[in-house]
């Protein structure tokens, strides 16, 4: 009897060609081992941007794209919580449980979804860098990976303050204080720069990072840019001002870096020029060229996130910002979502002569691909013409569908896809001038010291040189230069304006300058994460 059973098992197993208790599973459609270190080849000579990134760091660099220029994460949180933009509730559209209204009004709580997205996407980037660091890297590659990681930790420092400092791809760490996170970011950056402190006469020859002007590969100037930004905000983060260090780091970039302000004569072809519309310019020049879809290797870019409509996706401003009908202006692939609206006060603060006003917004009556009036057949307005009005009558519940001018600094191109081609600057020379100007002014307590640097950006914008300067005018100037670059929230906090009331936002408590640790994370952390004060 037993023998029968046994032989049947054997026969059965033979029939099926496997052992009768074999449960090993090969996942044929997944990679279950790493191949990064297996002698992969780097193809040299890329010209379209993003080309010199070492193979082993492709994944880590790629993580920079997540959340930096799309809806629902870092960019959205930085932007909507500031006085740049809001997402009004347009009747039945864009209420979304009130998360964006609360983001704008600073009544966000720990259950806010975008905050959780920001947290997880940032840690995903950190882990990707950690994973790369555990492979075999050259010294330069290691320094780049650590700089990427430092950038992500700077974002956490700036937004959540108290976070876990994780430095291996597996494993946990205790929640650090904001000071500890600051110290970590500072020491990492100093280390990759081969110095122990930033000074006026520092020598970076010991740095593993290079000095080539490739904005897609982190060099010494990129790491210094991040360090300058860290020092500029040090007083906010730790209570200890580091303005001289911010000045020295910025000055080093300006003095030694191969970068230029993209001004007169710095042009790119206007990819949004409609064939039938004569008023569309042939070229984009100066400020607008820095952010154009074809801004690859713009001389002003120090460190930029490479985006591409097919191979490096993640920039969706064309979807987020525009009215549904704008699809017909540029013959876009996909219908936009009609979300982000620029605040009237912010838009009106620009001088009409400011080239940045023209470059940064879509405003007024819109036209279609052929230059005829752009119609919205679903409009309440009998003329049906789509017109972006600076005025937004209300934030909710019935923010008119066409109200608010729209952010268009990262300009569109004809037949654009859902994914955009514009590269997103993390650090650029114009910004570095503003860091230096502000750092010098704050270090000396004299805002006029910022004038030389501020006037460099004003000049490029076609504005007369400013002769007087105070904190408010400096902030306004900085706002115009850095619009849509995820800088405004941090700036408002540094200038003590974040808690002030504006438009439909009431005054908010100082505790709101740091976001709550996402509740999902606290719940899942077994008590290793605690909430920030005020939440």
């Amino acid at each position: 009897m037993k023998r029968i059973i046994r032989s049947t098992y054997i026969v059965g197993a033979l029939l099926l060609g496997v052992s009768c208790t074999d449960l090993d599973e090969t996942l044929e459609d997944e990679f279950t081992t790493e191949f990064s270190d297996n002698g992969v080849q780097v193809i040299e000579g890329a010209t379209e941007g993003g080309g010199q990134v070492p193979a082993a760091l492709q994944a880590a660099y790629g993580r920079l794209r997540g959340g930096s220029a799309n809806h629902g994460g870092y960019y959205s949180v930085q932007t909507v919580s500031s006085d740049e933009m809001a997402i009004g509730q347009k009747g039945g559209d864009w209420f979304d449980g009130g998360i964006w209204l609360r983001m704008h009004r600073h009544t966000y709580g720990s259950a806010n979804g975008p905050l959780n997205n920001m947290w997880t996407e940032t840690y995903a980037g950190i882990s990707e860098a950690n994973l790369a660091l555990e492979g075999s890297l050259t010294a330069a590659e290691e320094a780049q990976a650590r700089t990427i990681r430092a950038l992500f930790y700077w974002r956490l420092l700036d937004t959540f303050g108290r976070v876990k400092i994780i430095t291996s791809s597996t494993g946990d760490a205790p929640q650090a204080t904001r000071q500890e996170v600051y110290d970590f970011v500072e020491s990492e950056l100093l280390d990759v720069l081969g110095i122990t402190a930033v000074t006026a006469s520092m020598d970076l020859s010991g740095s593993a990072l290079g000095t080539d002007a490739d904005p897609y590969v982190i060099n010494q100037y990129a790491a210094l840019g991040l360090l300058a930004k860290l020092y500029l905000n040090a007083e906010v983060y730790t209570g200890t001002a580091m303005y001289n260090e911010a000045d020295w780091a910025a000055s080093y970039i300006i003095d030694n870096g191969p970068y230029q302000i993209c001004g007169e004569g710095c042009t790119v072809t206007n990819l949004a020029k409609r064939p039938a519309v004569d008023s569309d310019p042939e070229n984009l020049e100066g400020y607008s060229a820095v952010f154009a879809p074809n801004n690859q290797y713009n001389p002003e870019l120090i460190w930029a996130i490479f985006y591409d409509e097919t191979s490096a996706t993640g920039m969706n401003f064309s979807q987020m910002n525009f009215h549904y009908s704008t699809q017909l202006t540029y013959a876009l692939d996909q219908q936009p979502w009609n979300g982000y609206q620029v605040l009237e006060e912010f838009y009106n603060s620009y001088d009409d002569a400011d080239a940045r006003k023209q470059a940064s917004f879509l405003a007024g009556a819109q036209t279609d691909f052929d230059g005829a009036a752009l119609l919205d057949y679903a409009s309440d307005d009998p003329t049906l013409v789509v017109e972006y009005t600076p005025e937004i009558s209300e934030l909710e519940p019935n923010s008119p569908r066409q109200s608010g001018v729209r952010a268009a600094k990262f300009s569109l191109q004809l037949f654009g896809r859902q994914e955009m081609n514009n590269d997103y600057p993390l650090f650029r020379l114009g910004q570095v001038y503003l860091i230096r100007g502000e750092a010098r002014a704050r270090a000396a307590g004299d805002w006029s010291l910022a004038l030389p640097d501020v006037n460099i950006t004003r000049e490029r914008a076609g504005l007369p040189a400013a002769t007087t300067m105070d904190a408010d005018t400096f902030l306004e100037e900085r706002g115009h230069e850095m619009f849509q670059e995820s800088a405004r929230r941090t700036d408002l906090i540094r200038f003590g304006k974040y808690g002030e009331a504006w438009w439909e936002k009431g005054a908010s408590d100082a505790s709101k300058t740091i976001f709550p640790i996402p509740q999902d994370q606290i719940n899942a952390s077994n008590g290793t994460l605690t909430q920030n004060p005020g939440y």
């Binding site: 080309g51 876009l332 994370q521 719940n523």
Partner: protein, 997 residues
């Protein structure tokens, strides 16, 4: 030894008695009240010597000992035992027995006599099946099995229904019951034509299903197909059905006048969009079956064809199915070989459910065709159709249906070879090998003029073709040995032991390509080489998948013991392994034990045939839905523009090498009671699903930025009661009336929830993202609808004023605060019904018969999504039509989720009414004929304002603006949301014809 004994007895008998114990031949006729019974079984008691009656009810049995007893049985009839006592002719009349206590019921790996079953098992045979248009086998059972819930919300003929036995049995595993067809595990119900089914048995509780181990958690549905009988002449049966179907309940909308009065944008026409996209559908079904058999072999061959139209225009399917079942006996009848095969070819026109959704919300003043637009409109660009451009989530529904194609072809092949060898009277061995191969291709084509997915609005890149292929193979090999012996008058024992191997392979690919020459009227999905996408980077979407080693391997054993013919014990044990778990967690042990006793044998109550009490406990398991969750995977990061080569990066999910079996432990207590006219079964159960597999929030910082991971993350308890009653109100030769009632209720509680309290089931765009309406909380019932309460008052903005529920003077109703301590949120309803009822009535008088079936579910609520989005009179969106139910209020002008959109959805429905007549044609070549008329979904009593008050048992989340709904991962913890993509319900009338040649 035995033979020697028999011989000596024989000799002894010959000496003692002349009329002696001689072996002889017995023949006769078996009949019932209405005539001969073909296919009845005749067996010499205590032996395997038996036969079946032929078509005229005649039988002949050789080698019958004089003192033997013959057992006459037939499904649905009381078994009779008659002592031979030298008779050579025995004619028997069997009487119908609704209780059928001696009926043989198929259970896992074998059969059992009904009265000996100690677990919760319900068996439904042909005569009790639902009538009318049955597109899918489970429809035969709807409302017939207490605790079995079958829901095809709306009734799309291309959708398989959601099947739930006793509520939620698993969180992260497959919640659908295991289907076993003619003994082969894991086959597709879609591959069996309903008319080929003889019997469906449902194993409900853990102790019954434990023999199937892992896949038995959600219950087991055992399907037995019809077969030929021994010694039957060649016979042909034809069954035809013709039906018409039309839309039933619809949600109230505004017509042109109402819409304009409400401030809607006038586009100059008057269109009833729902009328434009629906139709009176016509369906026909033809089944032909041929059967016959000799002493040693029998066969049944059937061909089935069905052409089913859906009420949505251009939707439906054509299915051709052929089934063969051959049985033969060789080696002195010791080896029985059965071969089963089925081939199904199904050509589906899926249509576009989106057309139904947009028909609800499209502007009723909009014209169908662009030529009728009130302003200059470039119609040719959109195929002549009108489109409201510039409005989110709005597509001309007629254009969707008329211009685009959504079709699929699936071929399924099953074959099974079954060897049963009788080693001795007590011992048999069975080897079953089977395979199911399903292969298919689905295609969608959106021409260059289609606004919906065809990108007609783009000046250049227009048109799109999608191709999806899939191939799923399921191989199994099972071997088991059965030992059965009556040891004494008082003790009978059956033991089964075996091995089971099953392997699933799947692979497929997806391709999306577009940019076809505009203005050309041609189906470019047949010529994709024309696509301009081939010339431009990043346009073509393609992916492929393959899994070859998904295996389940098991060893199992079972013992059935009967004491005193009244006390029954069933016990089973299965050790099972699955490749889906981590290396150390692959094997699980799944035991069960159940005891029962026929108390009436001892109490001897008057007129009582059976009073059985039984109790069973069983453990079953569930595997995760996906393979490979325990393994670490890496993603591939290509350099931009193809430069910089590639690197492996973090994978797409957090692996969990410790992932282990989800276990379901179930205790079931049942009482079965039967009298002459009445029978009742009561089951009480308590089931705990422990270590259920679910996606749990994890600390992203410590887990590589992954915020979720599949874990064994909690415990779910379900307690339930099921009652079925059957009563022969009238039972005489002229007339009968039988009424049956089933009642079931259960309550599922989340006892432990590692994932933490959270809300799920996002309402979606436009405007209601981050609006989760279902609460998941430890210690609470599953499926609570969670939100703020509407006070009934509206403020000056037209915003509904919500209630300060906790009375703290502060109104905290923002979705982000849904779980805050001071939130003014409450339970607004339950997604799962309090109880369900099924009420069957069968009348018969002369040649007439009438079946009436009512069905209802009570106590559940639904979030009416159409109302939540489109009922508020929102000014800035005035180009959507407004939903205008009885609950609508003109003063509400903003859309914000609250109790106002949660409705009680209790219903009681006349589900099926059929009238049949058996014709007496008196023709030689037609042996019988029957004609019937059936109506389905005839009348519904409910207060729900949506299209279908049926409970929504699971959720797929929202979808908008032409995106494709992902149905791969149903969320079972989120019942209660009536989404905007559900099909419209329909009423069906069917004419049926059945002829026996």
């Amino acid at each position: 030894m035995k033979i020697t004994l028999l011989k000596s007895l024989f000799l002894l008998g010959a000496f003692i008695c002349f009329s002696g114990l001689q072996a002889q031949t017995v023949s006769g006729t078996v009949s019932d009240a209405s005539g001969p019974l073909p296919g009845a079984s005749v067996l010499v008691k205590g032996t395997t010597n038996g036969t079946q009656t032929d078509f005229d009810g005649n039988y002949t049995l050789n080698n019958v000992a004089d003192g033997a007893t013959l057992v006459f049985s037939y499904i649905g009839y009381s078994t009779k035992e008659i002592a031979v006592n030298g008779q050579s002719s025995i004619n028997v009349t069997l009487s119908e027995d609704a209780q059928a206590l001696d009926e043989v019921v198929i259970v896992g790996y074998g059969t059992q006599v009904r009265k000996e079953i100690t677990t919760a098992v319900t068996s439904v045979s042909t005569e009790d099946f639902n009538q009318g248009v049955i597109n899918e086998p489970t429809q035969l059972l709807q409302g017939k099995v207490a605790g079995l819930n079958i829901v095809n919300k709306g009734g799309n003929p291309n959708d398989a229904p959601v099947i739930r036995l006793r509520g939620i049995s698993t969180v992260g595993g497959n919640a659908e019951p295991l289907v076993v067809i003619d003994g082969v595990l894991g086959q597709s119900l879609q591959n069996v034509d309903p008319s080929d089914i003889e019997n469906i048995t449902v194993l409900k509780d853990g102790s019954a299903a434990a023999i199937y181990g892992t896949r038995g958690s959600a219950g087991v549905i055992l399907v037995t197909t019809k077969s030929g009988g021994a010694n039957q002449p060649f016979k042909i049966n034809y069954n035809g059905q013709f039906s018409t179907q039309f839309a039933a309940n619809q949600i109230e909308l505004m017509d042109r006048e109402e819409f304009l009065a409400a401030g809607g944008t006038d586009l100059g026409s008057d269109t009833d969009w729902r009328d434009e996209v629906t139709r009176n559908a016509v369906t026909q079904v033809h089944n032909i079956a041929a059967t016959g058999g000799s002493e040693d072999a029998n066969y049944r061959v059937s061909l089935n064809f069905r052409d089913t139209e859906g009420i949505l225009k251009n939707s439906g399917f054509q299915q051709f199915n052929a089934r063969t079942k051959l049985t033969g006996k060789i080696l002195n009848d010791k080896l029985r070989v059965t071969f089963n095969s089925a081939l199904t070819n199904r050509e589906s026109d899926f249509g576009f459910n989106e057309a139904l959704r947009y028909a609800v919300v499209y502007n009723p003043t909009a014209p169908v065709f662009g030529a009728d637009a009130p302003f200059a409109f470039n119609s040719p660009q959109f195929g002549g159709y009108f489109e409201t451009l510039g409005l989110f989530d709005s597509f001309n529904p007629v254009s969707i249906l008329e211009q685009n194609k959504n079709t699929g072809v699936t071929n399924t092949l099953n074959y099974t070879l079954d060897f049963k060898y009788t080693i001795s009277d007590a011992l048999t061995a069975t080897l079953t090998a089977g395979e199911q191969k399903a292969k298919g291709t689905n295609r969608q084509y959106y021409p260059t003029t289609s606004f919906f997915r065809g990108n007609a609005v783009s000046p250049f890149r227009k048109g799109r073709a999608d191709f999806t292929t899939f191939e799923n193979n399921n191989r199994s090999l099972e071997f088991y040995v059965d030992f059965n012996k009556q040891f004494s008058e008082k003790f009978k024992l059956g033991v089964t032991g075996g091995y089971s191997f099953q392997e699933f392979d799947s692979n497929g690919y997806y391709l999306q390509i577009g940019d076809f020459p505009p203005g050309v009227d041609f189906d470019f999905s047949n010529a994709i080489e024309v696509s301009q996408d081939l010339l431009e980077a990043g346009r073509i979407q393609a992916n492929s998948y393959r899994n070859d080693d998904d295996r389940i391997i098991a060893f199992f054993a079972r013992a059935n013991a009967t004491f005193d013919d009244a006390i029954y014990l069933n016990a089973s044990l299965r050790r099972e392994g699955s490749s889906r778990f981590g290396a150390d967690e692959q094997w699980g042990l799944f035991p069960s034990i159940a005891v029962g006793a026929d108390l009436n044998k001892y109490l001897e109550l008057d007129n009582v045939n059976l009073l059985k009490a039984r109790v069973g406990y069983g453990v079953t398991g569930a595997t995760p839905r996906n393979v490979g969750l325990s393994q670490t995977t890496f993603s591939v990061a290509n350099g931009p523009n193809g430069f910089g080569s590639a690197a492996t990066g973090l994978g797409t999910r957090a692996p969990n090498p410790g992932l282990k079996w989800e276990e379901k432990r179930e205790l079931n207590f049942g009482i079965e009671f039967a009298m002459d006219r009445m029978s009742a079964t009561l089951d009480l159960y308590n089931r705990d699903v422990v270590d259920f597999i679910t996606e749990v929030n994890i600390d992203a910082a410590a887990n590589q930025g992954f915020s979720t991971q599949f874990q064994n993350g909690g415990e779910l308890n379900t307690k339930g009661i099921e009652l079925s009653l059957n009563y022969d109100v009238i039972k005489n030769d002229d007339m009968s009336y039988n009424s049956g009632l089933i009642f079931s209720t259960y309550k599922s509680t989340l006892e432990e929830n590692t994932g933490g309290t959270r809300t799920i089931a996002n309402l979606g765009a436009p405007g209601q993202n981050d609006t989760n309406v279902i609460l998941v909380k430890e210690g609470e019932e599953v499926g609570q609808i969670w939100g703020p309460r509407f006070s009934g008052e509206v403020d000056a903005n037209g915003s509904p004023i919500l209630v300060d529920l906790n009375g703290d003077g502060e109104l905290v109703t923002a979705q982000g605060d849904a779980l805050a301590e001071n939130a003014d949120f409450e339970v607004l309803g339950k997604g799962l019904p309090d109880f369900t009822l099924g009420w069957t009535n069968q009348f018969q008088m002369g040649n007439w018969d009438v079946n009436m079936f009512w069905r209802g579910a009570f106590g559940h609520s639904l979030v009416n999504a159409f109302r939540a989005f489109y009922e508020p009179r929102i000014g800035s969106q005035s180009s959507y039509n407004f939903v205008n139910t009885d609950l609508a209020r003109d003063d509400i002008r903003t859309a914000q989720f609250s109790s106002y959109y949660v409705e009680k959805a209790s219903f009681f429905r006349l589900d099926n009414l059929s009238i049949g007549y058996n014709l007496d044609l008196g023709l030689d070549y037609i042996k019988g004929a029957r004609i019937s008329i059936a109506g389905q979904n005839l009348w519904t009593i409910t207060n729900y304002t949506g299209t279908d008050p049926e409970a929504s048992l699971q959720d797929f989340g929202p979808v908008d603006n032409g995106a494709v709904l992902d149905t791969s991962t149903p969320q079972v913890l989120a019942p209660g949301v009536d989404r905007r993509y559900n099909y419209f319900t329909s009423t069906t009338f069917t004419l049926g014809l059945n002829i026996n040649f």
